[in-house]
Amino acid sequence: MSHLKSKIHEALANKQLQQNYYKATNSAVAKNRIRSQEPERWQTLRELAFQIRKNTIDNLAFYLEKAEAALNKNQIKTHWAASASDANEICFQLLQKKGIKRVVKAKSMLTEELELNEYLQQRGIVAIETDLGEFIIQEAGEKPSHITAPAIHKSAADIARLFEDKFGLPYTEDEHILTEFARQKLRDDFLQAEAGISGANFLVAEDGAICLVENEGNIRLSVSAPPLHIALIGIEKVVPHHRSLAVLLELLAPSATGQDFPGYFSMIRNAEPNREIHVIFVDNGRSELWQNHDFRALLHCIRCGACMNNCPVYQHVGGHSYGWTYPGPIGALLTPLMRKAPGDELLPFMSTLCGACTDACPVKIPLHHLLLKMRHQSQSPQTKPRLFSFAMKVFSKTMGHPNFYSFISRIAHLFLKLIPGQNIHLPGLNKYRHFPKPAKKTFRDMI
């Protein structure tokens, strides 16, 4: 059994895990007030956001050079990293030069992608994750299962057991006590840290503002308390100006958590006296993706997580099944193009192509169309069994002729009624699915 398959089976067999995903993603989707209650404004903003992202990404070099010049003008030093190891090494050198052994980290999916923590740890530097979700999974020795809610797969009971085992906190599922415990535990780390590492949600080209979005205050603390701040920023994160930023900002929190607006939105635009700021521009496969015209639109992504929150496949198999930093529909596309590990080409098949991701995407990335396109590209005609190709031809002819379809479905109904018993298990369907017994009357008979 392939790695992917075994992960999927493991997730499908764990009903509690599915409950955790189900509850968390549905609550985020349901709370998106602007999408459900102001559909016209929602659509206007999405269209604007699409134009902004498309234009920025199409002219990426222009905006990156602008952003770099603005950062340098603000006394912020800039570095460029072609690969994960470049980025990690630059970061390590900056810390080592100052003899720093402990750093606090604001939540950053880019640093998860780079495996920065592991890189630093191997070289004797401890990186402490400070976002509650990241803190939980770091202590559990796991990886994030969602890009905005990294511990979404864990129930309160899981976290209670973890805190009991790790810290001797008497077992409690009370989220207030657990949160307060993490606050107290990390307090001294914040107050004494010599460096903070962050990502960035946006980087404004016109004035070099590093924009950070959060709710907990851990990002503000990570980048305000210590005298050194290192921001690792994917080259696609640039936005032209404040007006375009305002549009994206209005879409981000509703899409991510269902909040109207993030708890904290910080713009860091200048280094203060005795505070050093470094920006590392990270490519790590992005420029190659940019050159791939079929999939360049993936660089429009603002990492809100709406596509996974709305995805029925993600809700069932969970974030870890996708095997890399980015799960859900966006991950099923990014992973084969960026990580390119054996087996990654199967990821675009982890979709029902229902289109819920595309509908939810605040920057209108046509996710399910791209998933389909990637499937096409990964299947050359030679690899398809001939019987399959024949069956597909028959299927396509049938679907294209309503009368013929109607005729065939009547015949099929007659045959299906002959099968005895309820919920028949058919070969080809896995053990989690059963073929239901057909209704007495077809839909066509009823209307």
Binding site: A61, T179, N215, L221, F261, Y264, S266, D283
Partner: protein, 198 residues
Amino acid sequence: MKNSTRDAILQKLKVKSADKVTFSMPDPMRAIPREELIARFTDAAEKLNATILKCHLPDISEILKDYQPLGKRVLSPELQRLYPTISGTFFSPDFSPKELSAFSFGINAPQYGLAQTGSIVEFYHFPKERLISLIPETHIAILNAESILADHHQLFPLIPNGINLTLISGASRTADIEKRIVIGAHGPKKLIIILVFP
């Protein structure tokens, strides 16, 4: 080495000429009467569990009496000019984060409020000033009731050059455990906004 990496990345991304981003924003809520802005701001901020107090300028130190002792208050430097009757310890950039954590109340005067989201907008003119609304357990923001804007679309063009800023919407919070909201994550556990009328 460094420059060659930079140039190689940019070279891969080059197009002949850059298109300028042009678009028209949906009309931000422009002509809204002040009373309405204040009502919306209050409503939105209270929904985020912020406490809203209202007072007239001369009564400001009176309303702060509930937040004693004076030694536990750290004040942002511009309060001296804006609200000279408020007493406490004035913040100095020499304070270490550790020293700041000895204060229970961080008091400052944000530049703007945003009606739509109930946010307060802090512009930081002094180094480390942002720690005032971050480290003490209670953040008290004194906001001129006349400086409430409709939304962040109105705000962004007004941001002056060369400063850092934060938009704060409610006290710090998390929902990382089963999406259940907990107020008071790593930032302040309580946010009090005092709306000051002339």
